[in-house]
Symmetry: C2
Subunit: 277 residues, 2 copies
């Protein structure tokens, strides 16, 4: 079920590496090449059979009919012009960035066939060392076509993600960033804040509750700083809503208003329980 | 390895029921009786082999040499006087409440041999239906003796928890409530707040991050309202610290201060990573 001749993956970390392994496992291309700043990452990617060839230079992507940008957001934005000089107009280009409005606006202008994507997979673990060909199995990949996105390109990217195990859903770049701010960015901000203030000497008394609530605070902090800043307006709005809700709970505790507190917590509980149904 | 003749468990929910099952599994008593407001809970507890006899009336606890109060905090406080009229002065009394200062002050006066306990087990699931004899295996149970707690009573309660699989640690009731406020109560407050403001129509896009971060918001909301109110002073202090930290992150995002944001997130990340080591 070959879909492409040559796929170039720029950024051979957890996501890029897992995509490469999935491509190899499913035989979706004749050749997979990888680009990374880190020679070590390329060597391990080759050793794991994720890529056929790797290079620290972008030149290796020449002739690719699919380029996947799998680096942090700012790097995607910075590399795009150089990438465009190395590939043909027919080359399909996609990315896996966690926010989509800025990338879509910028890369949509640079590439004739660009389709933004955001696989809701991955974890707080990083690097090719943790990459796995089944990372996307049963997961959701959000595709964020803009108004002028080429329909054939969208169809092919959709097919690509389906083949490596993900169910795809379409969202506009703006809707994506608004929604993910609540379902992903704000939870990270909250988790980083929470673990930040737990006194270190108390950590030995932590139970599953604290661990689960803050698991995602073990994520790559620089990557997440970029995500928050690239979705600044939505992030600030979501933080304010969260602050208001927290102040409501604080007020009820301060007034010893058990009825109001129960009301807020029960409503929250019902919503959380519905998530598991 | 019989430790007691008759153990009475008041409150046959997840924790009380699991303790009962563990007692039976380890043969720690000749007889285990259960008290619950809910006939259904007692029937299931008997069916699962957790208790020998159950009753909705406290009278059934007469003659017990160990009474375990495993109800919500306010119910523990409310039932204690009636319990004290039914058991002898030698009867060991313990509880599993999530805050300890109020319970310790009150029950320490009522019972000659009271030792407060707080098993760091359990989950967002409730009721005897989810009870399991191995719930405490490998877990930590905090014991919170007061200055005047009987040493022999403490030793016996410690031995009891060790036998059903938990490692015990000692904390004063006040230290317990201060520490648990950060490791358990505040994470619950944050989780309830977070899920509370996620728009319902966005939930279908939630990934593992949101689910893990808010898992404990599926917990019994009335139980947690009681916990927050019974630890009011510590809870308000911890919320304020958390608010300050969140406002620091918000400020850095607002100012687009990547350096400061990185600093805060990286510090938090290191602390969270240390939790898994």
């Amino acid at each position: 079920v070959k879909l492409f001749n040559k796929i170039a993956i720029i950024g051979t970390g957890l996501i890029g590496g897992s995509i490469a392994l999935a491509i190899k496992k499913k035989g979706l291309a004749d050749e997979v090449v990888g680009v990374s700043r880190h020679q070590k990452s390329l060597l391990l990617a080759k050793k794991k059979g994720a890529i056929d060839r790797g290079s620290q230079s972008l030149d290796i992507i020449k002739g690719a009919d699919l380029v996947i940008l799998a680096t942090p957001i700012n790097t995607i934005l910075n590399l795009a012009p150089a990438v465009s000089k190395l590939v043909g107009k027919d080359c399909l280009v996609t990315d896996v960035g966690s926010t989509k409005a800025r990338i879509s606006a910028s890369l949509g202008k640079i590439f004739p066939a660009f389709v933004g994507a955001h696989p809701l997979a991955g974890s707080e673990k990083r690097s090719i060392a943790n990459a796995h060909p089944d990372l996307f199995k049963g997961s959701i990949c959000l595709l964020t076509p803009a108004k002028n996105t080429d329909k054939a390109a969208l169809k092919k990217i959709k097919s690509f993600w389906n083949k490596i195990g993900a169910e795809t859903r379409l969202l506009s770049p703006d809707a994506h960033d608004k929604i993910l701010c609540f379902t992903s960015h704000l939870p990270h901000i909250v988790a980083f804040s929470l673990i930040g203030i737990v006194p270190a000497q108390y950590l030995k008394f932590s139970s599953a509750g604290l661990k689960d609530t803050t698991r995602i605070a073990a994520s790559d902090s620089e990557l997440w700083a970029e995500i928050f800043l690239s979705n600044q307006k939505n992030a600030l709005g979501a933080i304010d809503l969260f602050l208001q809700q927290l102040l409501r709970i604080k007020g009820a505790i301060k007034r010893k208003d058990k009825k109001q507190l129960n009301l807020i917590l029960t409503k929250a509980r019902k919503k959380r329980v519905s998530l598991d149904l």
